[in-house]
Symmetry: C2
Subunit: 288 residues, 2 copies
């Protein structure tokens, strides 16, 4: 069973409506609070050769990216660390704090435990006005589909394109962009952690419409041959860009680089250049 299969099982135990976004949404006075939790393991989630500082940075970046995808402003981060060697703690905590500081959040607490394999769970909280929140549901036929930057860079680094190592190891969550896009009135939004193709299928699952992209419009990783770059952009994991749909008249959104890559269509299908897009990307797999 793959990760999405297990998620469907979870939807039979807890309210499935709760599972359709990158964050849980909680009332908080006049605002909404969004909350996201992400678990990362050394062997499966942290590329080889990362420093401890980068491990801490990335653990926070993934959760800030979830908050950004809701159009929210990050507030607090909690970090639970299952530590294999105590001497790693200072580097990890410093990286985590620096990522918080860089994006206006505060590291406010956590938990600490001993573990054979380094395991980090970061939980982030953010706030957003109800009228500015962005969700995965909400796309409307006729909206454009857009992303905030080049896709496939992290996977390109894994494939040996050294010029993209910084995007892989020190990802920049699109925090300011997410907030601006929420305020500008996007109709649906999410972050692209498992690759563009799977993300489009995630949008398909919660919307009553479909998504047609043109691969010639994809912003590709620099310095990679076009065909390989397109494969990485469609199916590579580890990107931190935002994927969103919006009425064309919201552009330009001040301060946000946007790349229109397609259009929302009435048919419930994901198309690339008019043909069904292969549902393939970065997914955790269990045997059995």
């Amino acid at each position: 069973m793959d990760e999405r299969g297990l998620h469907r099982l979870i939807g039979t135990i807890i309210d499935p409506e709760r599972l359709s976004d990158d964050c849980a949404v909680i009332p908080c006075g006049n605002l909404l609070m969004v909350a996201s939790t992400d678990m990362l393991h050394e062997t499966t989630d942290f590329p080889a050769g990362m420093t401890d500082w980068q491990v801490g940075w990335m653990a926070v970046a993934v959760t800030l990216s979830d908050i950004a995808s809701m159009g929210a402003v990050p507030g607090q981060v909690l970090l639970a660390v299952g530590l294999d060697r105590p001497e790693r703690l200072a580097g990890i905590m410093t990286g985590a704090r620096d990522c918080c500081t860089a994006f206006g959040a505060e590291l406010v607490g956590g938990d600490l435990d001993a573990h054979r394999e380094l395991t980090i769970v970061s939980t982030g909280l953010g706030t957003v006005r109800p009228e500015h929140i962005a969700r995965r549901r909400g796309a409307r036929p006729g909206d454009v589909i857009a992303v905030t930057g080049p896709l496939g860079e992290a996977e390109a680094a894994l494939a040996g394109y050294e010029q993209h190592r910084k995007e892989l190891l020190e990802p920049q969550p699109r925090v300011a962009e997410g907030e601006s896009l929420g305020r500008a009135g996007v109709s649906a939004m999410m972050d692209i952690s498992d690759g563009l193709a799977l993300s489009l299928y995630d949008l398909l699952a919660v919307n009553d419409c479909g998504f047609a992209i043109e691969t010639a419009r994809l912003p590709l990783p620099a310095g990679v041959p076009e065909q390989e770059g397109r494969e990485l952009a469609l199916h590579g994991g580890g990107d931190f860009e935002l994927l969103f749909t919006a009425p064309a008249d919201i552009f330009p959104v001040p301060g946000v680089r946007t790349h229109v890559i397609g259009r929302v269509i009435p048919e419930r299908v994901v198309l690339a250049d008019g043909k069904p897009l292969e549902r393939r990307g970065y997914l955790h797999e269990w045997g059995g």
Copy 2:
């Protein structure tokens, strides 16, 4: 370096003021939001013989206990599960949901990952009026020291006293008690997860006074010889009772069973029957 040593290191990287309570405290409209995250591993945190349902129950119970210790009402729980075998997920999620439901919280989301050893991180959010929040700091000489129920029961179960297995495997966080005590005006409060002795030293670390208990007043686990029971009550781990200090005139607190076990004193020391109490209990230890 032990867990508390590493916590001191963390205090050099993030605001140490943030680390002095069981939860982080976050403004939320007219209320305060409290947030706590707890990491549990199969081999170190879940007693052998637990069912998956009990594993899920306990993962939530530890975080609800942290929320209760602040005098807050639990609201939402997020669960990150590093799963060793996919067939365990249904039991774990059901146990987690049932514990949430039992204490008025809602399981609103989480994350899922594959992992060699089962690892669960539960994050809980709760709310409390600013005037009712309870913290570890605030004890005043002359206050009484009290607990909400028998101590050492979980450790007694581990020592073979079968009648306490339910307290070990399906712990009951003192949620209603925590809220009532916060409202009644306790001066300091925390939960006793690592044993009474270490908890008293935790209070000592953040208060400008000391704590003198009388071991004859400790509520002991039923059916255990007195001397052994006292050892378990002082130094055993896994209890879910609340430890608090309060002016004597707040008692009785409606709906809360309280056991007065001592008195706050001006000297910065932890005493049991007039002698320094051994600083020993349940602590994660790293070699080196």
